[in-house]
Amino acid sequence: LETFAGDQVLRVEPCNEEQVQLLKRLRAQQPLQLNFWRFPSFPNEPADVQVPFANLQNVKVFLESHQIKYSIMIEDVQAAVDEERREMDLNQR
């Protein structure tokens, strides 16, 4: 099973068209293994992206160096998965 330990989901908020384009370029970077839950679209529309733990630093540096605003929406994806599994077990019982 693939695990998502340490993966985070970032909510990124581009404020202009240039930042949207930068996010689109980021999205095309396959080695970063980014999983966009909500794709970059228009200025002031948030994009949500799941970032593997190993690439968190690179992505955050990229965003910060281009003054692109972001916040951490999910601290640890695996913790959320574990919590859901716990709930599912409870339901099944």
Partner: protein
Amino acid sequence: RERGRNSFNYGAYHPLETIYQAMDDLVAEYPQLVSKQQIGESYEKRPLYVLKFSTGGKNRPAIWIDAGIHAREWVTQATALWTARKIASDYGYDPSLDSLLNTMDVFLLVVANPDGYVFSHTENRMWRKTRSKTPGSLCVGVDPNRNWDAGFGGPGASNDPCSDSYHGPSANSEVEVRSVVDFIKSHGNVKAFISIHSYSQLLMYPYGYTCTNIKDHAELDNVAKMAANALTSLYGTQYKVGPICSVIYQASGGSIDWSYDYGIKYSFAFELRDTGRHGFLLPASQIIPTAQETWLGLKSIFEHVRDHPY
């Protein structure tokens, strides 16, 4: 083993086999109203089943609903299953539903992407695509909501097989998409096409492949706003309403763009309750509330379609 209305837990997520069994149980319980039809099979040879709700007649005008084309959005398939039982159990008690089903049929594809659904349950919780193999690439799967013949390959879809929004080698290349297209075409009398997803609470209508307004913009906007208001009335869940392109982003090859261009005026896509704070891991305790509020939105659309034949 969960069987029948008294023991099946609609407030939980289930593996594919259990969902298919629950569909069979529903058919067995309401044989006068519900039947099951196989419209094809997935890339990995899993059956694609639709539930047909019909009170009789021949080739009546119909409403199509599909759920879970993006595998990981589990609350979608769960909502569809709850909705199936709601339609079956409320018929005969809800005058609005009665009048709908006395003139129209409803088709419900509960699991539109069964291979992806199984994969998301067993291998990768965040899987969204199909599981078809792409020659010459190690990456697997196509985004089935970029694979329809509507601005195929245009903006908002990727030509990289490794991308989560890969549009596939050609329109309808995915058997899951082709099966629906063939079914809708062979039926010939579908009047509404509703696709259910789940992320960030939106109710959208065409277009996504272009940012120009459709000719029925005013009417569909009005219908969508009424449906969103009905939905919000239950728990206060806020929905954003509008064309895909302006409400979310430009995305080509989407299902409701195809259905609209094919002539199905009432084409809508729901993005159900999911703030993103849980991602696609909407807590199980929210399944039934999500389904309940969605039902109000769906019914509002049903009523408009019933009352505005074309």
